[in-house]
């Protein structure tokens, strides 16, 4: 556990040192601020639901930027040799890295609370919808971070990892579109796997446990896959 926290702390320091993280954060606030201004001023309403669709789209671009160097950079700099020969297990290494990503994700979510806070000055806000939407945002972001982390274990090149992460996220994002056009018969099944579609209940203010499980399961699956990819490197 201590080793995991050490790795987490190191990763957070690295976020702090790396320009990519600053660019990603700036991009996130610029675009989400833009969306907020457009919908809030444009529609003159305190309906928070308008916010979330847009923030989720920004995640699609920001999260690959934030996860791409997590493992890739270690592989490129040869520091994986340090981690893998230390007493830390691969589960601890991946766990620590995911914990750091999760902290960053939590920051993104918490800071975006500023938008409903501004809205609340102009009218009442539907509290259950607000908080459950934020829960959905956090779960979605955490899942995307886990997928990005997995993509990062696949290559020693940050850019490749970033693109792979983006592609994987995009596919999971649009998987239910298949059901609308080509595979109409599989529509219901495909919709269950859409990472955005799963947020709709929560964002209506309905707490649906299977949705939460869906995200937690995806996180676990991708973390286990990441551990396996690193474990495989010992057998090269």
């Amino acid at each position: 556990m201590r080793r995991m926290l050490a790795i987490c702390r190191k990763e957070l320091q690295m976020y702090f040192y790396s320009p990519t993280a600053y660019v990603a954060f700036a991009f996130y606030f610029l675009i989400s601020g833009y969306f907020f201004s457009v919908s809030f001023i444009g529609y003159m309403t305190t309906d928070v639901r308008l916010l979330f669709g847009n923030i989720m789209v920004v995640y699609l671009f920001v999260i690959p930027l934030l996860t791409m160097r997590l493992v890739s950079d270690e592989l490129r700099q040869g520091t994986d040799e340090l981690l893998l020969t230390s007493p830390a297990s691969i589960t601890e290494i991946i766990g620590g890295k995911f914990l750091a990503a999760l902290t960053v994700q939590l920051t993104l979510v918490v800071v975006s609370l500023i938008y409903p806070w501004i809205m609340s000055a102009y009218g009442p806000i539907d509290q259950p919808v607000l908080w459950l939407s934020y829960l959905s945002l956090f779960l979605l972001g955490a899942t995307m971070m886990a997928i990005g982390l997995f993509a990062s274990t696949l290559s020693a090149h940050q850019m490749v990892s970033g693109i792979v992460a983006f592609a994987m996220l995009l596919i999971l994002w649009m998987i239910d579109w298949l059901g609308d056009s080509i595979l109409v018969s599989a529509r219901d099944a495909l919709q269950k796997f859409s990472i955005v579609g799963r947020t709709s209940n929560l964002q209506k203010g309905v707490f649906d446990l299977p949705d939460v499980f869906f995200y937690v399961t995806l996180i676990v699956v991708f973390l286990v896959l990441s551990v396996q990819v690193l474990e495989r490197k010992r057998w090269r």
């Binding site: 702390r9 007493p87 010992r234 090269r236």
Partner: protein
């Protein structure tokens, strides 16, 4: 301390390590020698647990790397070929991270880091970003990282590569010092380094151990005859004739170095008839003749010769040539 038992690492399309078998006892400094691509790094990576061997087992202080990887790894300090540093971090933050990673209790971290920083001459650099430091300092931080948790076994992969001569001497001194408290396995393709630091040498070529001996034994054990060179004060012809009559001596050759102009002295290279030491016999013989010996030296095969002999007889060809070139470069 370390047992490597019948370890092989097989790759589909290139040579790995085949049937590596050796052990090290506590306090030894072992030099791991071989041309590039001989399997030094692969072997070290298997010992440190970075790679799993295809076959065979590795025991560190009696603990199997396969069955107790965490415990076994915690007994090892490892400096890979390129020091595993995070260039964005400061020296202090980096060593802190290593201390956490290596389970050093929080209370002991500060004094321990201070100790290591002092030992490696890093004082005054703690607050600097690693990226801004020179290669020599980076190598030292790499060493600091390896010894921070006071490991029983220290594995160093080419610890002096890429350093300037002054830094090389410093690092060698450090390793010798570390050898007093740790068991050290270091790899190199620089031969004098082994003579300078190690008390045992393992030469590997193409994934196999071809020689395992003390560095000062190697020369004599490889030579078929005893060779020596002498400088004698006396008439040239008579000295050569007199020595030629001795039964112990198989051959008398004038040293091919140009002689000094005064014909008072003669330099000779003597070969024994069998493998016995002929120095004493030569001394008494010349003493009885009244020709003083000005200089006498035992000639043994240098590590270079041994290395070339071993690595070229295995497989004559391009690979051996490149090995020879490298030796020349570093000689």
């Amino acid at each position: 301390m370390l047992e490597v038992k019948q370890v092989s690492k097989l790759y589909e399309n290139r040579r790995g390590v085949e049937q590596m078998d050796f052990s090290m006892s506590r306090g030894e400094i072992v030099g791991f020698l071989g041309p590039n691509g001989a399997g030094k790094t692969t072997t070290m990576r298997m010992i440190t647990g970075y790679l799993n061997p295809t076959r065979g087992s590795i025991l560190v202080d009696g603990l199997s790397m396969a069955d107790h990887p965490k415990k076994a790894r915690s007994k090892i300090g490892y400096l890979p070929e390129t020091p595993p540093l995070y260039p964005e971090m400061t020296v202090q933050a980096y060593l802190r991270f290593i201390a956490d990673l290596r389970d050093i209790p929080v209370r002991e971290q500060k004094p321990r880091i201070g100790e290591v920083v002092e030992k490696l001459g890093l004082q005054g650099r703690e607050k600097q970003i690693i990226r801004s430091l020179s290669k020599g300092y980076k190598q030292r931080i790499g060493l600091a990282q390896a010894i921070l948790h006071q490991p029983d076994l220290l594995i160093l992969d080419e610890p002096t590569s890429g350093l300037d001569p002054k830094q090389i001497i410093e690092i060698r001194g450090l390793i010798r010092e570390l050898g007093e408290n740790h068991t050290v396995l270091l790899s190199t393709h620089i031969l004098p380094e082994v003579n300078a630091i190690c008390n045992r040498v393992l030469i590997i070529n193409q994934g196999r151990i071809v020689l395992d001996d003390r560095p000062d034994n190697i020369g004599s054990s490889m030579g078929e005859t005893f060779e020596m060179s002498v400088e004698i004060k006396g008439p040239r012809e008579d000295v050569i004739r007199q020595l030629g009559t001795m039964p112990e001596i198989g051959g008398v050759k004038e040293a091919d170095e140009p002689l000094e102009t005064d014909a008072e002295t003669v330099k000779l290279r003597l070969t024994s008839a069998d493998r016995t030491d002929i120095r004493e016999a030569v001394f008494y013989k010349l003493a009885s003749l009244g020709y003083p010996i000005l200089e006498m030296k035992r000639e043994s095969l240098s590590l270079e010769d041994v290395f070339l002999k071993l690595t070229t007889t295995e497989e004559k060809g391009a690979e051996a040539e490149t090995a020879a070139e490298e030796v020349e470069e570093h000689a």
